[in-house]
Amino acid sequence: MRGLQLGLLALVLLSAESVLVRGFGLEVARVDVTVVVVVFMAVFSRTVEGALTSFAVGYLLDVFTGRPTGLFPALAVLVFLVARGAAQLLDGKSRLGFALFTTGASAGHSLLAFLLTWLTSKSAEGRVLSLSGMPAQLLLTLAAAWLLFPLLSRLEPGERTEGGGGRLA
């Protein structure tokens, strides 16, 4: 149920992001709203539930790119697993911790997306230039994670795993 709620929330966030980013006049910087949801699942949910939700959120992102290739569902699940592992070592449960944790995950997500598209693209230089918006993207994602944390925390908080993220079951 929480997965469905988060999926719908991701759809709304992606729609809002696409409109707001245009309004701000940003060219290659985006707000990684899907990573916010994926990291939240990594910190607060069980593995299978989180992986399935991350896949669904990545699928939505894939559709929103305009040229769905299957890259973003795979990356979302990968980022979920890495974030889940890292959540054992780092604090991602406080608001600030979650925002910083999400920013790190967004950087990893962007770099992996760049690497994989670069590997499969003829125009390597163009792919490198697509990273020019990354600093702004990380700042915007940090702000988005900070703002969205209270909203995400309200989604069935009773189902959170005890003892924190990082448990593999």
């Binding site: 759809l11 709304v12 992606l14 729609s15 992001e17 696409s18 409109v19 707001l20 980013v21 245009r22 309004g23 006049g25 940003l26 060219e27 290659v28 985006r30 899907t34 593995t47 299978v48 992986a51 399935l52 991350s54 896949f55 990545g58 699928y59 939505l60 992102l61 559709v63 929103f64 790119t65 305009g66 040229r67 769905p68 290739t69 299957g70 890259l71 973003f72 569902p73 795979a74 699940v77 990968l78 697993l81 962007s110 997306a113 760049f114 994989l116 598209t117 499969t120 693209s121 125009s123 230089e125 163009g126 792919r127 230039l129 697509s130 990273l131 020019s132 993207q137 593999l168 079951a169």
Partner: protein, 284 residues
């Protein structure tokens, strides 16, 4: 075997969620798939949502702009009168030129090539990742928009349609690294290919011989040789020309004619020539 699957079903499921789409991505080499039922369902929900949000954001923006504009209305009105007079003079000259053009076309038996319907559309959102630079418009298959159709504004070329569903379509901007458009320099008729630079701001003019005559400030237009874009649409202006000491081709940096940050409405042009005879799948 079954007991193994049963015991390890969770890691296997999670592994499959990564590996299956990743193989799909690598197999397709970065090319988008045709929209399936699920894609269409997502787009049919998100496109009206984006349209609604765009309406709200634009409405708020317009109200603020109107308020700000009122404050400087007197000076602006004075400037407008001057500009109007100038525009009227240019319009007269253009009317003369058009009349002459019509007479010459008639004399040469010229047949207008753009036979289909031009579809005006509104941009309702930018797409979600910098790796694929595209935006969504509020017109789709239902309005006659098809994959491959050129998208322009009065200033020049914007890009081309890469996906169309019921009431929405996605347009790849020509600054995307995957964008390739046959081009020629207006002044010297030198041919080349305009390639997206990937930074959302510039393009590159590629496959132009080093000895060819190109200067900063030259206007570059579509050549009509790619089978998608009609000839003569403005692509941009040459910003910088570099002639490397080795290699056959020079490097030209192009500034787009269209400011992608401010464009709100676009026109989707019909497919022309050979591209009109292909299936949408064949255009990819």
């Amino acid at each position: 075997m079954l007991s193994f699957l049963s015991r390890h079903r969770e890691p296997l499921l999670v592994g499959a969620l990564i590996i299956v789409p990743l193989i799909n991505f690598l197999a397709r080499g970065g090319r988008g798939r045709e929209p399936n039922v699920l894609d269409r369902a997502v787009l049919s929900v998100s496109a009206p949502l984006q349209s609604g949000l765009t309406w709200v954001v634009d409405g708020v923006g317009a109200s603020v702009s109107a308020y700000v504009a009122l404050r400087g209305a007197r000076e602006a009105a004075g400037q407008c009168r001057v500009q109007l007079a100038e525009a009227q003079r240019e319009l007269n000259a253009l009317t003369e030129a058009r009349a002459e053009n019509e007479r010459l076309k008639a004399a040469l038996g010229y047949v207008e090539q753009s036979g289909g319907l031009v579809v005006p559309a509104r941009i309702i959102g930018l797409n979600a990742t910098p790796q694929f630079q595209s935006f969504r418009i509020d017109r789709g298959e239902d309005d006659g928009v098809r994959v491959g159709m050129p998208v322009v504004t009065a200033q020049g070329v914007v890009g081309q349609v890469v996906r169309a569903v019921g009431g929405a379509a996605d347009v790849m901007v020509m600054t995307d690294p995957q964008s390739r458009i046959g081009a020629l320099v207006q002044r010297t008729r030198v041919r080349g290919t305009v390639v997206g630079a990937g930074d959302g701001q510039r393009m590159q003019l590629d496959f132009v011989r080093r000895e060819d005559d190109i200067r900063e400030g030259d206007v570059v237009v579509t050549a009509g040789t790619d089978g998608l874009f009609p000839r003569g649409l403005v692509l941009g202006t040459v910003q910088q020309v570099t002639r490397p000491t080795v290699g056959l081709f020079l490097l030209g940096a192009l500034e787009p004619a269209v400011d992608f940050g401010t464009v709100e409405e676009v026109l989707v042009l019909p497919l022309t020539g050979l591209s009109a005879m292909r299936t949408p799948e064949g255009i990819r």
